[in-house]
Amino acid sequence: MHALEIRHLTKAYKNGVVALKGIDLTVDEGDFFALLGPNGAGKSTTIGIISSLVNKTGGTVRVYGVDMDTHLEEAKSFIGLVPQEINFSQFETVLDIVVNQAGFYGVKRPLALARAEKYLGKLGLWEKRNHRSRTLSGGMKRRLMIARAMLHEPRLLILDEPTAGVDIELRRSLWDFLREMNAAGTTIILTTHYLEEAESLCRNIAIIDKGVIIENTTMKRLLAQLNVETFILDLRQPLAAVPEIDRFALHRIDETTLSVDISKDRSVNELFARLSALGIEVASMRNKANRLEELFVRLLAENGPSAAATRVAPGATRP
């Protein structure tokens, strides 16, 4: 069964901006799905329409087979939304925020309190339940929005950049939580600018750019498209000149650092053997950029010069 089925979805704003140009998208039940794209690509508009915060111009959206045009309330009841921007009252307590949200979904108060303890506990906020939300740190506010979205135990959880501005330790703990929810049967749609996050968590992926889906496949298939990977080599001794090695493109970054492009038909062992033969010792090696980032940048570049010239995912390095 499809958790989400979008057909020919279009959105034109009053100022003339066409945010979505007839996108089709399908997310299967139980999936962990990444919706990626540069800023202004149409990700948040798509999520806004699914969560009924944005009026669509055309097309259809079905959630677990339920058409949002004809059975809006039923479709909404399946969805939990974690928006990009903080959107809870700054004057209410943590507990009030999550219990009220459950109430809006018709969850009885005793059940809402039990679930509040469960999800606030899992996300490390139970001790803060009586604190006003404005006193929370940025990371806690992000976690509060996730807990709030879980109170009615949605079948489809949509997270719009849930880890933006969150430190790496907390980000990884949120990943664990999301993996646990997905393993328990919750379908998850994630948008993020941290492509490492999408690569680590998601099984399927769609890339949207300028209101059009330019790629929609499994993460494995997408990564398999990567023919060349760029590595950074840290050398023990400084080099006066860049060595020339057949079939390996080496570039000098500084006197003790090289970058090298290795195509799929070559191996790292071969490179090391050739370097060793020249008396060059490699102290350490790392990917220049995350594999998905390299593909992401390439796909955007292929989709049009404006995207390639002006938009690079934060954290990505141009090849």
């Binding site: 704003y13 806004g48 969560s51 009924s52 915060l53 944005v54 009026n55 809006l72 309330e73 039923e74 909404k76 009841s77 969805i79 939304l81 928006p83 921007e85 903080i86 959107n87 809870f88 009252s89 700054q90 004057f91 009030d96 009220n100 949200q101 109430g103 809006f104 979904y105 018709g106 969850v107 009885k108 709030r148």
Partner: protein, 257 residues
């Protein structure tokens, strides 16, 4: 099952609203009590004895129902407009918009929140009035009906204002430039019989005149206008404004992109 879910959602909105204005009682409950105390001291005790009787009652007794009604009107209106605009401004209105709640439940929840504040402030101001003068209720049911319908009507008015408001200025424009003049010209401090015939007729177009006089009749048993007409006008205006609020929310005005 669906109705029960709606009931839970409605009660949640109502409790959220009541909790909000009770949490900030220094800004919501106390100021009308102080303002009305000043009105009773100045207009009732200092100026009132020089005016003498009005409508067969002491001046302080005559203005007391109008002052109570003025508090009910301004507080019911202010509660909904500030709460709804605040929810839009902080974006937590989205908590309701993404949930499976029909818009009539959202309107009802906010309006009942406004009614709750209007009634609580009305009771507080009545207690203040009793400190300065004796008030005997002529008809409890008419008094209750007028207070309820008035606070519903002005809560709905506050909601319309909140829906269209884009800035804090928009929240204060209507109360300052429309509500306050209409209230002062709605017979709070005088009987319209004191006005020339032309201005008496103009006054009949002011909806607040019907509320103040309806409430005055419930308390004192005197009124410039027919009480049944007052209740009818209030009920029709409330129903019409409820429809307007619902239509605006259904179209997503001010809340959806």
């Amino acid at each position: 099952m669906r109705r029960y879910r709606y009931l839970i959602a409605f009660v949640t909105i109502l409790l959220k609203e009541v909790t909000r204005f009770m949490r900030i009682w220094l800004q919501t409950i106390l100021p009308p009590a102080i303002t009305m105390t000043l009105y009773f001291v100045i207009f009732g005790h200092l100026i009132g004895p020089r005016i003498g009787e009005m409508g067969g009652f002491l001046y302080i007794q005559y203005i007391a129902p109008g002052l109570i009604m003025m508090s009910v009107i301004t507080n019911a209106y202010a509660n909904v407009v500030s709460s709804f605009f605040g929810a839009k401004f902080q974006k937590h209105i989205e908590e309701m918009l993404v949930a499976p709640i029909p818009n009539w439940v959202i309107v009802s929840g906010y309006v009942c929140g406004g009614v709750a504040r209007g009634v609580i402030v009305g009771i507080v101001v009545t207690l203040v009035a009793l400190f300065f003068t004796d008030l005997h209720m002529h008809s409890f049911w008419i008094t209750a009906a007028v207070v309820l319908l008035t606070s519903i009507l002005f809560s709905l008015g506050g909601l319309v204002n909140g829906i269209f408001a884009r800035s804090f200025d928009d929240v204060t424009i209507i109360p300052t430039f429309v509500l306050t003049p209409l209230t002062y010209l709605g017979g709070v401090f005088y009987s319209i019989e004191l006005l020339p015939r032309f201005w008496q007729r103009v006054s009949l177009a002011n909806p607040i005149l019907y509320m103040v006089n309806g409430f005055r009749y419930g308390i004192l048993g005197v009124s410039d206008i027919d009480v049944a007409t007052a209740l009818f006008v209030l009920a029709v205006c409330s129903a019409a404004l409820f429809g307007v609020c619902l239509a605006l929310l259904n179209r997503g005005v001010g809340i959806r992109t």
